[in-house]
């Protein structure tokens, strides 16, 4: 059974190895400062924690900022760590690339760049993957083209749910991004 690492213990180890790298820990993940991300990951992969397998890499739009989510796995010791880093700037987000540490980050970072518009500093081949060059906007951002008349993320209720009529939802007009 894969063990989920104790976040507080990992955070303390990281703080010892890379000072000021972990500003805080939330319920699910150790949050690493973007400026220290590469150093921190190098430590996690190289130390006794042996987190040398990048299981998954993705990003979440939190409207005011972006969260990059990394799932790091150790195959020998069979434990898993969720690591997050924050890209504060919502207009032109940028975080360091992990391609130097993990070959498997190449395609996943390209995917995040394509759909979320997050730049990965140091990625050798950062270009759009699914969409074509010149596609206006980044579709997985929350401010990209809301579909009128459908549910959208963060809505208060189900259609026809009992209680007050919450349908249709005011303010769900589409916003077409300008290229």
């Amino acid at each position: 059974m894969t063990v989920l690492l104790d976040l507080q213990v990992v955070a303390d180890q990281l703080r010892g190895a890379v000072p000021e790298s972990v500003p805080r820990v939330d319920t699910w993940a150790v949050i690493v400062d973007a400026g220290h991300l590469v150093e921190a990951v190098r430590f996690l992969a190289g130390s006794a924690l042996d987190l040398s397998f990048l299981a998954s890499l993705t990003a979440v739009d939190r409207e005011s900022h972006f969260e990059l989510v990394y799932h790091l796995q150790s195959l020998d010791r069979n434990h898993l760590l969720t690591l997050k880093t924050i890209a504060e700037d919502h207009e032109t987000p940028c975080v360091p690339s992990l391609t130097g540490e993990y070959r498997g980050a190449h395609l996943q970072e390209r995917e995040v760049f394509d759909l979320m518009g997050i730049r990965f500093e140091g990625h050798p081949d950062l270009r759009r993957m699914f969409l074509w060059d010149g596609f206006p906007g980044y579709p997985l951002r929350k401010d990209f083209l809301g579909m009128p008349g459908t549910l959208s993320a963060g809505l208060p209720g189900f259609p026809h749910e009992s209680g007050e009529n919450r349908w249709p939802v005011p303010g769900s007009t589409p916003v077409i991004p300008q290229s």
Binding site: S56, L75, R103, A105, L107, L115, W132, L151, S152
Partner: protein, 373 residues
């Protein structure tokens, strides 16, 4: 006077497009190869022809409404995709699945693995040059499995069978004799496949030593599934991080030695045998009782996030689902093994002939719906 011939003649680089529509790409997938003579110097993949923006669409539908999308992500292993997504939402909402539901999930996930591996091995032998005949042999059993799916949930390919909290239906009584007769004939059929393909000269000549990826490179490139096991790493999430009732089942993890296309093919063939072993145990031991938990119609998982993964026929299939407490997921991400298994494509193909690149692509077993989503 002896004429000296240079060891290797270089030519102008030639760019060859394989795809978007090409029999060896198994979907709408374009591989741009730069060739020096016949030797591949560089490959670049141009994808997105099948991009249906599943992850965006899923943010506008409820958690339950998203299950049919997962069928269409990997249309050759719909059951596995259903399962992985449902596990993620159950983790998020804290739902316990009744025992019979868990066993039924294992039953259909393993049937799906056999069907998917039959397709993978059939098309792989196809790519090696044994045109169509072995594929038809492998399709024979796949067909019977799809009949079992149809019997249970009415659909053959996009099954939409798993539900949050269990499975949609209990299988009909006529499923069990049909399943038992299939399991009885499987060992003979597997012998037949092995006799046809394992020592087949075409397969050996085309796939031995082709598309080699070392264990270190495979780990660094986040490869998973038969690719990783073909390189000799005994990593299978059914053993390493057991979900459903896999921890109560007895099976082995086959591994390869050289990490070449032939080893991946052998690993898949052996995995089918292990799946038959698992299915025999499931038929013997499946308990009675309810197959679905009681889940609120208006399911609103508390704000939070969950990452659940399973060993799909293609590798580690994970779903990362974020909820903000509302009726729809705030973020729905699929960790697609088909896409990530292509991370090492360049290392596998560069420096060998173009014909080998085709075999290598076949051995990765991509499903373009899963790459593009």
């Amino acid at each position: 006077m002896a004429i000296e011939t240079p060891k290797r003649v270089h030519s102008e680089p030639v760019v060859v497009n394989i795809g978007p529509q090409h029999p060896s790409t198994h979907g709408v997938f374009r591989l741009k190869a730069t060739l020096d003579g016949e030797i591949v110097q560089d490959v670049d993949m141009l994808i997105g022809y099948l991009h249906r923006s599943m992850e965006k669409l899923a943010e506008e539908r409820t958690f339950t409404q998203n299950i049919p999308f997962t069928d269409r992500i990997d249309y050759l292993a719909a059951m596995s995709n259903n399962l992985s997504y449902c596990l993620a939402v159950e983790k998020l909402a804290g739902i316990e699945v009744p025992l019979r539901g868990q066993w039924l999930r294992v039953l259909f996930a393993e049937l799906q693995r056999i069907a998917s591996h039959a397709m993978a091995n059939g098309t792989f032998v196809n790519d090696c040059g044994a045109w169509q005949t072995p594929l038809m042999y492998m399709f024979r059993e796949r067909e019977k499995i799809l009949d079992l799916f149809e019997m249970t949930c009415g659909a053959r390919l996009t099954t939409n069978y798993m539900r949050i909290g269990g499975v949609a239906f209990d299988p009909p009584l006529e499923l069990w004799p049909a399943l038992c007769s299939l399991l009885d004939e499987m060992p003979d059929r597997l012998e037949e496949y092995a006799a046809l393909t394992v020592d087949n000269e075409i397969v050996l000549a085309r796939s031995k030593g082709v598309g080699v990826v070392s264990a270190e490179a495979a780990l660094n490139a986040s490869l998973s599934g038969p690719l990783l096991r073909g390189s000799g790493v005994p990593w299978d999430l059914r053993k390493a991080d057991p979900y459903c009732v896999y921890d109560q089942l007895d099976f082995d993890i086959p591994v390869g030695r050289d990490g070449d296309c032939y080893d991946r093919f052998r690993v898949r063939l052996e995995e089918v045998r292990q799946s038959v072993r698992i299915l025999n145990q499931v038929v013997e031991r499946i308990p009675g009782g309810p197959w679905q938990a009681e889940v609120p119609l208006h399911l609103r998982p508390a704000a939070g996030e969950a990452y659940a993964r399973i060993e799909s026929p293609r590798g580690e299939l994970g779903f990362y689902v974020v909820s903000d407490g509302g009726p729809t997921p705030w973020r729905f991400h699929c960790r697609a093994p088909s896409l990530i298994n292509l991370s090492a494509l360049k290392e596998m193909t560069v420096g060998r002939s173009l014909a080998d690149a085709i075999v290598t692509l076949g051995s990765i077993d991509i499903v373009v719906g899963e790459i593009d989503r």
